[in-house]
């Protein structure tokens, strides 16, 4: 477990540096066990920073999400570094963003958090539905310890652990400038049994399944907005000329949206699971992403966001690339 005083001390040092503009970390949320992103500009603000298994957000998103406002005439753009706290899974987003030239390595300062797993807030909520006051979660051995309303509850890790953590192969960040704790050895593997279960269904069953899911979509685009890999300045989904996808919320346009979203992530999704986490209507987006992830791995022996300096899948071509799937 990350020591909070060490975390704050490190953060203080970093945000005090001349060449750092901003530090993105976590702070306690406004109710229940939740944590939320913290944007720190001043050494005086570091004491709000925390890290615990409630820190689910992938903060890499905020690096590319930040809007670059026009620089007033006569002023220079602020090109100082952005410091960001990342777990192992989140760090893959940084690797992939940099592979895509989203920014140069020296534009960021990475505070790595070796991670032993985070909770699935929905599971916590289901278990303790009415906790509104502040609560705290920590991991002790193979149990999550929850402290709230003067109570202390111990729940086996398995029961609250986020699904993505159950198949996490990269608990320690793959890029970092400082590491807040000892490296964590991988404690899980990924057998894609969930994807295989989906693959084994008939075409009709799959269609019925996804039709039901997509029909729920309200096109809030949260999944796109939270995705660390969706950061085009001008998303094709918002364009009017040509209008690739109409604004209407119906099964046809919803399906088109979800297919476009999934395909734009093929060979790029790093499986942080943020899209599915934020979906207000519980569409299992990771099932789509993971299907494409598995295909890419099987066909091209490629995993995005794993190797620093590896060229992105879609920009590399070999004459012997498999193409049996082309009709």
């Amino acid at each position: 477990m990350v020591d909070v005083s060490k975390l704050r001390e490190t953060a203080r040092e970093i945000i005090s540096r001349e060449d750092v503009r901003e530090l993105i970390g976590y702070r306690a949320g406004t109710y229940g066990f939740r944590a939320r992103p913290a944007f720190v500009y001043d050494p005086g603000e570091v004491d709000q920073l925390i890290f615990n298994p409630a820190c689910v957000n992938n903060l890499a998103t905020y690096i590319t999400l930040e809007e670059k406002l026009p620089v007033p005439r006569g002023q220079e753009p602020d090109l100082r570094k952005v410091a960001v706290m990342v777990k192992g899974c989140d760090s893959r987003a940084l690797v992939q963003q940099m592979a895509e030239n989203a920014y140069e390595r020296d534009r960021i300062l990475v505070i790595g958090i070796p991670c032993t797993g985070v909770v699935d807030m929905d599971k916590v909520q289901a278990r303790f539905p009415d906790v509104l006051g502040p609560g705290e979660i920590s991991l002790e051995g193979d149990k999550f310890v929850l402290i709230f309303d003067g109570r202390r509850e111990e729940i086996p890790k398995e029961e609250l652990l986020a699904d993505k953590c159950k198949r996490c192969r990269f608990p320690t960040p793959l890029v970092y400038d400082v590491l807040l704790d000892e490296e964590v050895a991988p404690f899980a593997t990924d057998d894609y049994s969930d994807v295989e279960a989906l693959e084994s269904r008939s075409q009709d069953e799959k269609w019925a399944y996804w039709e039901e899911k997509f029909s729920r979509c309200i096109r809030c685009y949260s999944c796109r907005n939270v995705c660390p890999m969706c950061y085009c300045n001008d998303c094709i989904l918002d364009r009017l000329r040509p209008q690739w996808i109409r604004r209407s919320v119906d099964i046809s346009e919803n399906t088109a949206f979800h297919i476009a979203r999934a395909y734009h992530l093929a060979g790029r999704c790093i499986q942080c699971g943020e899209c599915q986490r934020v979906c207000p209507v519980e569409i299992p987006l990771m099932e789509l992403n993971r299907k494409l992830y598995k295909d890419v791995e099987e066909l091209y022996d490629f995993e995005p966001g794993v190797k620093v300096d590896a060229p992105p899948l879609l920009s590399s071509y070999r004459p012997d690339d498999p193409e049996d799937f082309i009709l």
Binding site: L69, N101, R241, L314
Partner: protein, 676 residues
């Protein structure tokens, strides 16, 4: 665009090619009913002069600003009609074609359905035409020099023609000498000219020509750029012999400890050479080469006390320290003349090649009958793989075959080995070799097994007749097997003219192997991005009208690398390629692709996918100022862009568009063609 689109539509009958299936009048009437179409006509041959005149007249009379021609593939006549527009005073890129021949009349039988489809294709062209934009076709300077890859007869002829016209030629040959396969041949059909006598003077001309820079034992490593401005990188492999000092005296080859112990490639392994060698006496350049795989000193680090060659070379030309050298230069055009391999007869195991000493390939036999070959032109029975007897006198005189049998179409016209095509030279070279046997051993019995005799060329039939009159026996049948019986070989076959199975005893079998694409063709394909036809030879731009061009501007083909052919055809094609290559060089300028990609720098996020993908290295990332922020964006070099569209497809933010294929031009087409 100036004002409303005014579209003229022209439906071509193409004789009966289109009109035989598609109701062209109906298509024309349909076209006339479409919005913005001010005139619609049909005509028997739109590409003819009167056909084109219809368009130019209408441009004048109706003030057309868009033209749609519904005819054949744009690959066929897009350039024609673009010129028509130009001569009518319209920007040539205001043309759109609907392919109602290859994509409609030729592939459908039902006239009603085909007519419906033609209407759809035409409507799609009309809706696209509405949004077409005028494009500017830029010109670039052409470097007045040509790279020729391959120094066989085709490469040699092209080099001489271009050099004689006053342009610089770089001739790059992989092996230590130029000459290619023709240098290996004895006589040539059908005139029986001595191959060396007509070839070697040309080889010497190449070596002495002031405009030709010859690079043998060299390989093209990399080519970038485009017509007019190719940058070439060539690796000159180390020969370990100083080319300036070597006098070609040959003392080294005699002294080499391995002299006569290494199969000579030039003699197809029938003759032997040393580790330092000249492939054949008339080789050009007449400079020796050390083969580093076999040389004791280079491969094992030790060759007696001192390497013999070094010891005897009075010119001091041997240099074991020599390194490969990389040379770089610029050329305006490129001719590929890399030739062929002969079919590997081991792929037909039933013929026993590689098992029986006296089953030969025709190319081996060429060396055997050749006066400058390993036997001095004596046709003798081979004892392969046997160590040479110490003293020549001890060896018994080699036996002369009393009967020789040829089998044609080995590896040609044979689906079982994947070669459906006819190799075009085997019928005639077999007749030639049969004649040479009769000439040298008059009482030798000569039999030829054949499927058909294709004597299609000038003087071929006459030659075939002559050979038959010389007593050569032709049996129509494709042998199924060759085996040994005693000291004879037995060819098992069926004479299909009399339907009699037969077993034919013979001393020697010659397999008339076909011509196949070189096993190392991939190298050049990767470097130049050439296409292959289904037989895997290099693909020409058009089988009839552009037989020496490739799909890439400024790159031409000559000789057998494009498909099997004999020497006269290879020479003719080489002369064609040379003159095609000289056109842009003589003009000094070429037009470059106008339908290039453009980047929307406002939305580009600089990921660089397109940069990596571009097969023409036409895109780079540049830093721009976006509202005060330094950001990287992709930028297209329009001289390099070929308009392939790979970048457009890869761009996730949809920030690249290809001119004439923009979203607002293609999407209306999709709408028309989509299921309604």
């Amino acid at each position: 665009m100036n004002g409303k689109p005014k579209i003229g539509v022209y439906v071509c009958h193409c004789g009966t090619n289109i009109a035989g299936t598609v109701n062209v009048e109906e298509v024309r009437d349909f076209a006339a009913s479409l919005p913005d179409v001010v005139v619609a006509r049909n005509y028997s041959y739109m590409c003819s002069d009167p056909g084109q005149a219809l368009i130019t007249e209408d441009i004048k009379n109706y003030g057309l600003n868009r033209v749609v021609v519904a005819s054949c593939s744009p690959r066929m006549h897009e350039p024609t009609f673009r010129k028509t527009l130009e001569s009518g005073g319209l920007n040539p890129f205001y043309l759109e074609m609907a392919n109602i021949r290859e994509q409609c009349s030729w592939v459908h039988e039902d006239p009603i359905a085909a007519t419906e489809k033609a209407k759809r294709l035409l409507e799609a062209a009309v809706v696209k035409a509405r949004n077409l934009e005028a494009l500017e076709q830029k010109e670039v300077d052409v470097e007045p020099s040509c790279l020729i890859i391959g120094g066989g007869i085709a490469g040699i002829q092209a080099a001489l023609d271009i050099a004689d016209a006053g342009f610089k030629v770089y001739l790059v040959e992989k092996s230590p000498t130029i000459g290619g396969h023709m240098a290996q041949l004895d006589k040539t059909f059908p005139t029986l000219d001595c191959s060396a006598c007509i070839l070697t003077p040309k080889m010497v001309d190449v070596a002495n020509h002031p405009n030709i820079e010859l690079m043998t034992y060299s390989q093209v490593e990399e080519i970038t750029g485009y017509i007019g401005n190719f940058n070439v990188k060539v690796r000159k492999k180390a020969r370990f012999v100083d080319m300036d000092k070597c006098t070609g005296c040959g003392d080294c080859a005699e002294a080499c400890r391995l002299a006569g112990r290494i199969p000579n490639e030039f003699d197809e392994g029938i003759g032997m050479r040393g580790a330092i060698y000249l492939p054949f006496p008339q080789a050009v350049p007449a400079k020796y080469t050390i083969d580093k795989e076999n040389c004791l000193f280079l491969a094992k680090g030790k060759c007696g006390e001192t390497p013999k060659c070094q010891e005897v070379c009075q010119a001091g030309a041997i240099n074991f320290e020599q390194q490969d050298e990389i040379v770089e230069f610029k050329v305006g055009t490129i001719i590929v003349a890399t030739g062929y391999d002969v079919f590997d007869a081991r792929k037909k195991p039933e013929y026993g090649y590689g098992i029986y000493d006296n089953v030969l390939t025709a190319l081996e036999f060429e060396r055997l009958v050749n006066a400058s070959g390993p036997t001095g032109g004596k046709i003798v029975m081979l004892e392969r793989g046997k160590k040479k007897k110490k003293k020549e006198e001890e060896a018994e005189a080699p036996k002369v075959p009393k009967s020789i049998t040829f089998i044609q179409c080995v590896g040609s016209r044979d689906k079982s080995v994947g070669n459906e095509y006819c190799s075009r030279v085997c019928c005639m070279y077999t007749a030639k070799l049969a004649h040479l046997v009769k000439d040298k051993i008059p009482d030798c019995e000569v039999t030829i097994f054949y499927m058909d005799v294709r004597a299609f060329g000038k003087g071929f039939e006459e030659f075939y007749d002559r050979v038959r009159r010389e007593g050569v026996r032709y049996i129509r049948g494709n042998p199924s097997e060759i085996f040994r019986r005693g000291d004879k070989l037995v060819v098992k076959a069926e004479d299909t003219l009399t339907a009699t199975p037969l077993e034919h005893e013979t001393d020697m079998v010659v397999l008339s192997v076909g011509l196949v694409p070189r096993s190392d063709n991939r190298e050049i394909i990767d470097i130049l991005k050439l296409s292959q036809s289904s037989d895997l030879f290099y693909l020409e731009a058009h089988p009839k009208l552009r037989p020496v061009d490739t799909a890439s501007d400024g790159i031409f083909l000559a000789g057998v690398c494009q498909g099997p052919k004999d020497i006269p055809d290879a020479v003719a094609q080489a002369k064609g390629a040379a003159s095609a290559a000289m056109i842009p060089m003589a003009k000094g300028k070429v037009k470059v692709e106008a339908q290039t990609s453009v980047v929307n720098e406002e939305t580009c996020r600089g990921c660089g996918f397109c940069v990596e993908l571009c097969p023409f290295t036409a895109i780079e990332l540049v830093e721009v100022n976006r509202q005060g922020w330094p950001v990287k964006v992709a930028r297209v070099n329009e001289a390099l862009c070929k308009g392939c569209g790979a970048c457009v497809a890869a761009c996730l933010s949809g920030s690249i568009q290809q001119r004439s294929f923009k979203d607002n031009q293609l999407l209306p087409q999709i709408k028309v063609l989509g299921v309604k």
